[in-house]
């Protein structure tokens, strides 16, 4: 079977439209969806955002959902997945004949609902049922259970590159024969939590963002969802599905530089784009358009420009950041921008980069939009906190891509370290300096300690890939941030707490510590988080992408969250639990 991965359906909801057609019209008419918050209940009424122009109640009625505590992330996801499924004509597909998997990227999960009841939940169990779908994995479960033909599902949470990494895992599951069809992308609702968090990092623009402009002054947050239906060319032809585009190549690398900033030379971005190009069998000159990550922060646009010049030299393709329309939809951005790229391929146009008028020094020059421009190959960039950088290429025609082969042989656990008590964490001093440790909460310490010890036991300085699982991430930090938000009524937020609240903060901290630029991703699927890490690690080892993989699953608990777990009938997690392993593929005898 060939490994040509095709897209046979897609769906989108964003600030510039509730479906593909309306998004297309907004892009053509250069109509931005960024405005002052009208739906998000925040005190920061002066910070513009890209909101989906539909209330939760309206979405619930449209989707026929009658659940008091359903979160906006899930609702937005349902809106987009419904469209993608309809376009790909998946309804009525038989579970017996076709294995359909959902891979969704999110970081916010149910935080929008959690934060609205948090104050009450500090003293009362009345609304704690909402916490059943607080974590990203259970939020995805709710999305998957809407469709009776979905057999399996998981959640990727690498902050702003989550959806791009979801698309990559989906493609690898199909190539390795573990799935026939995969619905992949991302969904993210705006929340006070991350609006205040980004605000504490001082990277939000109080005006509409101006990506790649010399006077750019930060990003605007947005929300929405974007999903594509992926399958092999053979499956698509067999079931008579329309092929919209080919997923020609993709790459994932870690910048391994800083938790919230990109390196000056854009190493992670450069490696991710290079890998995508190399897999696709295309040359730099074949790329007709780049949908940039282009957040509009001084740091991103400079670093991304540097990476693009490194790869493309003086011959940079047409490029734009459509975040100037949608805002930065964080975990959903890779999905939303994949659908925008599909529209550009299909309708032969270059989406504009709004707000640009001043050339930045050492920066790319974005397109202000162009119609009647035939596009064959487009590249889409998604970069996340912690340097989780990914890039993929969509093509109108099949390319002479490099197929992936999956080797047989036994997956070998070279070393395994488990940490089960907070007392053990003092050993971190043997590995890190006090200045490095000072900001780290228990989970960060436990993650680094177990990982560094597993590597030491395996006699490996730096693994080829790092795959990390966590159910809740640094819940201790998240809870503190929520408490601070309640106590100060959104007046102040600690940037350290926010920086360490994303699920991928622990996996990228390992990469930063080791200077590891290899494949790096994070899964958060409740009790199955480690299982999904093992599945991805196996794909990496069998495909030869990595010879050694550091796999880990890490979680912590707080007194308050322990109370929540008892109240909603979930098993109470231990205060700290880390497992770290080094895996390799034993040579076939």
């Amino acid at each position: 079977m060939s490994q040509s991965i095709v897209i046979t359906g897609s769906g989108i909801v964003s600030a510039i439209g509730l479906d593909k057609e309306s998004v297309y019209q907004s892009l053509l008419s250069r109509q931005s969806g960024i405005a002052l918050p009208a739906i998000l209940k925040t005190n920061h009424k002066d910070i513009p955002v890209g909101e989906v122009k539909m209330s939760n109640e309206e979405m619930k009625s449209l989707l026929n959902i009658d659940d008091l505590y359903v979160n906006r992330t899930t609702l937005l996801g349902m809106m987009a997945v419904d469209q993608a499924i309809a376009e790909a004509r998946l309804a009525g597909i038989s579970k017996k004949s076709c294995r359909v998997v959902l891979v969704s990227g999110t970081t916010v999960g149910g935080m929008d609902v959690t934060e609205s009841y948090f104050s009450s939940m500090l003293t009362s169990e009345d609304h704690m049922k909402c916490m059943l779908t607080h974590d990203c994995g259970n939020s995805t479960r709710l999305l998957a259970e809407r469709y009776n033909f979905i057999q399996d599902y998981t959640t990727v949470s690498t902050a702003c590159s989550s959806a791009a990494n979801a698309i990559m895992l989906a493609a690898n599951l199909i190539k390795s024969g573990q799935a026939d069809i995969a619905i992949a992308g991302g969904t993210e609702a705006l929340s006070k939590f991350h609006l205040n968090g980004f605000n504490s990092l001082m990277i939000l623009n109080k005006e509409n963002c101006r990506p790649f402009d010399d006077t750019r002054a930060g990003l605007n947050l947005g929300e929405g969802a974007g999903f594509v239906v992926l399958e092999s060319k053979e499956t698509a032809i067999k079931r008579g599905a329309d092929i919209q585009a080919y997923l020609a190549g993709y790459g994932n690398a870690c910048d391994a530089y800083h938790q919230t900033a990109s390196s000056p030379d854009g190493e992670g971005a450069y490696q991710a784009m290079s890998q995508a190009l190399s897999m696709s069998g295309l040359k730099t000159g074949d790329i007709d358009y780049i949908n940039a990550h282009g957040t509009g922060t001084p740091n991103n646009d400079e670093s991304e420009s540097a990476a693009i010049f490194r790869l493309f030299g003086d011959d940079v393709p047409a490029i734009s950041s459509t975040k100037s329309f949608t805002g930065h939809t964080t975990s959903a951005s890779g999905g939303i921008e994949a659908v925008i790229c599909l529209l550009a391929l299909q309708h032969s146009f270059l989406p504009a980069n709004l707000g640009w008028s001043n050339q930045m020094t050492n920066g790319v020059t974005p397109t202000l939009g162009e119609e009647n421009r035939e596009l064959n190959h487009v590249m889409c960039n998604s970069f996340g906190f912690g340097g989780n950088d990914s890039s993929f290429i969509l093509s109108k025609h099949e390319t002479s891509y490099i197929p992936t082969t999956f080797a047989d042989g036994e997956i070998k656990v070279v070393s395994r370290v488990e940490i089960e008590s907070v007392a053990e964490l003092s050993r971190i001093k043997e590995y890190l300096k006090p200045m490095e440790i000072r900001r780290m909460g228990p989970l960060m310490r436990s993650t680094l300690l177990s990982s560094l010890e597993a590597l030491k036991q395996a006699g490996i300085e730096r693994p080829d890939a790092i795959v990390t699982g966590t159910m809740l991430g640094c819940i201790d930090n998240s809870e503190k941030l929520l408490r601070e938000m309640v106590a100060t009524d959104e007046a102040t937020t600690s940037p350290t707490l926010f920086m360490q609240s994303t699920h991928n903060t622990i996996g990228s901290a390992i990469a930063i510590q080791l200077g590891c630029h290899g494949y790096n991703t994070t899964y958060t699927q409740a009790e199955y988080s480690l299982d999904w890490c093992m599945r991805d690690a196996e794909l990496l080892l069998r495909s030869g992408t990595a010879k050694t993989v550091l796999v880990g699953c890490h979680d912590e608990n707080t007194e308050w969250y322990g109370w929540v777990q008892r109240a909603i009938g979930r098993e109470v997690m231990p205060n700290i639990h880390s497992v770290a392993m080094v895996l390799t593929l034993a040579a076939d005898k």
Binding site: S200, P434, M435, R438, R439, A491
Partner: protein, 86 residues
């Protein structure tokens, strides 16, 4: 000049805000650089110091670039605080 009491208070706030667990006010020199070669603070610390000024003294720095001059040393922070208190 900022008074010694304020200098000491600022040092305590810095230690607290930046989780400098193993450092006492006496370890921080009044005029030594806080960033780079001095205490070795980084960009996240600069953001935490902005939050600290707002929380403890009600002073808001809107542009992170403005923090550069203010956060040169403990003395410069204390001077900034007293000039805004007046």
């Amino acid at each position: 000049m900022a008074n010694p009491e304020l200098i000491n208070e600022v040092k305590e706030h810095i230690i607290d805000a930046l989780h400098l667990e193993d450092i006492t006010p006496a370890d921080i020199e009044n005029d030594a650089p806080l960033f780079g070669d001095g205490l070795g603070l980084d960009s996240i610390d600069a953001l935490e110091l902005i939050v600290m000024l707002e929380k403890k003294y009600g002073i808001r720095i809107a542009n992170p670039a403005d923090g550069k001059d203010v956060f040169k040393s403990v003395t410069s922070i204390a001077e900034f605080v007293s000039s805004h208190k007046a």
